[in-house]
Subunit: 244 residues, 2 copies
Amino acid sequence: MGSDKSMAGSAAGAPFAGARIGRVAAPIREQVLDVIRQGILDFQLRPGQRLIERELIEQLGVSRPTIREVLSRLVAEGLVTIQPQHGAIVAVLSPVEAEDIYEMRVPLEVLVMQRFVKRATDEEVAQLRGALARIEEITEAGSETQSRLRAKDDFYQIVFEGARSPVLAQTLQTMQGRIRLLRATSLATAGRPEASLEEIRQLVAAIERRDLDAVAAAATAHVRNAAASALSQLAENGAEAARS
Amino acid sequence: MGSDKSMAGSAAGAPFAGARIGRVAAPIREQVLDVIRQGILDFQLRPGQRLIERELIEQLGVSRPTIREVLSRLVAEGLVTIQPQHGAIVAVLSPVEAEDIYEMRVPLEVLVMQRFVKRATDEEVAQLRGALARIEEITEAGSETQSRLRAKDDFYQIVFEGARSPVLAQTLQTMQGRIRLLRATSLATAGRPEASLEEIRQLVAAIERRDLDAVAAAATAHVRNAAASALSQLAENGAEAARS
DNA sequence: CGCTCATATATTGTCTGACAATGAGCCGGC
DNA sequence: GCCGGCTCATTGTCAGACAATATATGAGCG
């Protein structure tokens, strides 16, 4: 409830401190889009779960056209599937698709990392090292997957910024989104945070040395290993599901 | 079939060659999506041109929510840009974006070609040769760009089918769509159809030999050359535009 | 007791109409 | 001649409505 539309008037607390919500700052549909996407990426909405328009309308307090527009966008991103005449569900990644995506990610990630080497400022490289440090911290603390994922998102954010390649960045971002779906499907790959961390360390080291070949090798290894881990897990999970 | 009930106004001057939407099998919005996308890809809707909702409604005879949904999808595909509070326009590719896309296409196209080699049936390979033959025909006949593009689309369609990689295929397809936008911007790259044809010949030959390395080399060369040609043209065009 | 069929419900697909808010262009005044 | 206000066009968003279709429920029958 709450969240009336025209509450802009008084705004008791912050005259112009906080971000103005609703009206001018961000179109409603962007907000809705973010909310639902985040819900999927954070595993609150699980793959296969139905997304019923009426429910979303009630929960988010927006109108049906808005919801439909948002769902369309999510379909385009590959995070939602629409079964005609039946409704939208959170997308379920098939092993075939997952393999495809990982295979595509390899060269694209190499590309973006090399671009980062070529275009990023020294400051951005330093930021990258900082992000690595945070990942190390979290990994060593053995924190939950959630925060690790967020730290890795930050890491990639810096890479994308520094690479100055908006299209490439966006493509990779949606790919990573879909892969995260996969992670939700196979329920916490958990897998190998330490191995992954070591790979990232090597990657950052190569970046700092500005060694393009080493960067390519490290990026390739990282994605390949992630793929192998995720896909094997998915295979197990799939077998299990088939058995039941 | 179609054209049952509301065949309303004649809409003589529709920019899309008499395409009218009827309520039949496919969902209306899919039809609308196809029509507008095709309009963009066929250069009937030129980059930068405004897409005013009201006009589209009148020309296509569908309602506003439908149009908006379609425009959203096209935004996601990168064919349309929305300027907040101002409206949608056919996307204009900046040189930076174009370069990005071409650079991404290189490894992805290598990937899809190699997959085709590994997975396509002999019959599909034969079909590919057939498609090549048609391209040759059209090129030698010196036909207009339009039919050449269509023939190349057919060629790629076969590749995508045979590669059995839906995700990869879709990604490449949207990329090629955006690149075609570029072609519309710089007004008929024209370029050298003969050179392009020779590259494709080499590619098909490598595929028939099932020589993965040669396929990679040929695919890379093809995309790289296309990029060089398109980008140089764009640079000229940009300079010209800047002058005026 | 299980199975098939008909009904009922739920949900989407689409349309109509409406309103506020924002941006663009125009016109008059200084 | 320039600036400010005004009008208009266009988008952003909502509410309600209806048909079509898929799923679930229950009744009747073998």
